[in-house]
Symmetry: C2
Subunit: 375 residues, 2 copies
């Protein structure tokens, strides 16, 4: 088991990375809350519960009888109406301020469960048990919770840190391969912006990682979480350093928006966004051609990158609306070599256009390759 401590201005909690949390859950929870277990409520998805619900219940004492709350899968249920329904179920089941919610599932379960915990009775404790790679390496850490509006993703939310995160790599064994790969792009991002050793590991061990070797996964998840915990510990509210976590996300978010959030998984869009940002970095010389090559190779090693179609106009428009752009300034994250990154505010419209057009061309090429393979 690896333990990483997240320590921010407003919170201090452990992230545990291991492979046997489910069958021993009550022992682990007692470490947090002492002998008397609080009343537990579990928010999960029907899929995850069908696969892992029994294992989780086996780790709780029989007298616990946790209430199980379900959120259907899909971004369209990440809405306030569902939060209200779930809060009503909590109230009906008698949840009070001393109750604890366990968010057991992927990123949406974590975001909604965290937000529900943030606002139910003005805040109750919750525990993250992320079951996807993306949630384990990224969204379960850092305290961002929330829901979407029709007007945009994650426009509603709170900063509300969990009491603890249990990232169990055993649950990754049932994760669809495409989701595993998509999540790993956030780990590659973590390596590029702040952890050269993690990057090198991912570069050299793609096969073991993709075959879900437990030790390889524990290392990758632990290092990714440590990187994020350090950054969030220094800058909880994203006024400075935390911005670097958005490497690949300006154009990545634009691709997600321009393709209606349906074509690509988040990590896949971020992979394209990182390649796009890399073009700007290469043009400015903040990475060498050799470094850019290693980054590109490694991203492709975790591919294939799913192609998409869009237009430069659509992508540039969506990038301009990205909510990371404060007070009209376009903040952009560029790698500086491998293992370091900077936030700049002077990326020009021409650089943006070139990067976006390069990406569209690369996506077209990838589509042709896919078609050629298909024949």
């Amino acid at each position: 088991m690896r333990t990483i401590h997240v320590k921010t201005e407003s919170a201090d909690y452990p992230v545990y990375v291991g492979s046997d949390f489910l069958p021993q859950l009550s022992r682990h929870l007692r470490k947090l809350s002492g002998d008397a277990l609080p009343r537990l409520f579990i928010l999960t998805s029907p899929e995850i519960w069908a696969l892992w619900g029994e294992a989780l219940l086996s780790g709780l004492p029989k007298e616990q009888h946790p209430s199980i709350l379900f959120l259907p899968p899909g971004e369209r249920y990440k809405r306030l109406a569902e939060v209200e329904r779930l809060a009503g179920e909590l109230a009906a089941a008698g949840a009070d301020r001393s109750s604890v919610l366990i968010a057991f599932g992927g990123g949406i379960i974590g975001d909604v469960g965290g937000f529900l915990s943030a606002i139910y009775m003005r805040g109750i404790d919750y525990i993250q048990m992320p079951t996807t790679l993306l949630a384990q390496v990224d969204s379960s850490v850092g305290g961002k919770t929330g829901t979407n509006l029709s007007a945009g993703k994650n426009l509603i939310g709170s900063f509300h840190h969990p009491r603890a995160v249990f990232a169990d790599v055993a649950t990754l064994q049932t994760l669809p391969a495409r989701e595993l790969r998509a999540g790993l792009f956030e780990s590659i991002k973590a390596g590029i912006i702040r952890d050269a050793k993690l990057f090198r590991f991912l570069e050299r061990n793609a096969e073991a990682v993709l075959q879900r070797d437990m030790d390889a996964l524990k290392y990758v998840i632990g290092a990714s979480v440590r990187m994020k915990a350090e950054v969030v510990g220094i800058d909880e509210r994203e006024s400075g350093l935390r911005m670097i976590l958005n490497f690949g996300h300006t154009i990545g978010h634009a691709i997600e928006a321009a393709t209606g959030y349906r074509r690509l998984l988040h990590g896949e869009a971020i992979a394209w966004g990182m390649l796009a940002a890399l073009q700007i970095a290469l043009g400015r010389g903040t990475v060498t051609a050799q470094e850019a090559d290693r980054i590109t190779q490694t991203i492709h090693a975790y591919g294939p990158l799913r192609p998409f179609r869009s237009s430069a106009g659509l992508l540039l428009g969506a990038a301009g609306r990205d909510k990371k752009n404060r007070a009209g300034k376009r903040r952009f994250v560029l790698p500086q070599g491998i293992g370091d990154a900077v936030v700049v505010e002077n990326v020009t419209d021409a650089e943006m256009r070139d990067a976006v057009e390069w990406t569209l061309a690369a996506a077209r090429q990838s589509e042709q390759k896919t078609e050629a393979r298909g024949r």
Copy 2:
């Protein structure tokens, strides 16, 4: 102008009590945010805006053009669905993280506006401009924001403190007399639990206060806010001292719930709840007969107390479900003389029943008097 500073673990902001904030709003806002005014969004009710909208706009520079968001009056609009609608309007109007919301209205506007600000883009700044006495002396201070669920009031919410509170007594001139009186019961509460001087002022100056003498109102509001600011400064999250603010509220909330939140205004129910709690205090000797008499007289001086009908069973059931009762313990606030109060956990079922039955009898008596006057 009186200025009270609220200083808690998580916030530090001024409450201004005065009579000319509206026409000079931009000058006051500049004191908070420096020369460049932020983009302003105003949440208000149609009624308040019809009465005071022009005055408020006259205090802003012409180029400001704040967006006005409306919430219809009534508890039934204090719901997540309305928060979602309002967040959508903020997004459509281009509100970003640097925008500031002004909550301009009564307690519901403040609760919903504060909560909307707490969760829009994970938190934006907001300013309270309460226009009812209840909101000025109580709900605008302390950082509690939120909405109702079908299952109960204020079950959803956040702690989110405003950047500043502007309590303008001029806006009280258009407040219905019944609402003025109801709000003053919270000031009487403030006096009883922690400020003997405020209590004495209210005891001796009922006429001036009820005739809305500006200076008398400023004193009462300033002292009430100071009391609450001190308590919240010591115990922001209601783990100890803040409980005393619930004097009169255990049975008061039960009366509100048992009468469907329609018959009585909040302050009116709290007045009955204080009289009920006083019976328990009198029985235990934590107040003398003479002190109890002064308290009773003063409460009636701000009456008449609106009668209600219910049953001991209904009221005791509702009091048992009150969410202030943690982990099965019934916490109850009792005055200790005038100007001090204690939280006890050993109020017996018999004491509760006697207090509730005394109150029901008093309410019946008051109804008969009202009828007699009506003849």
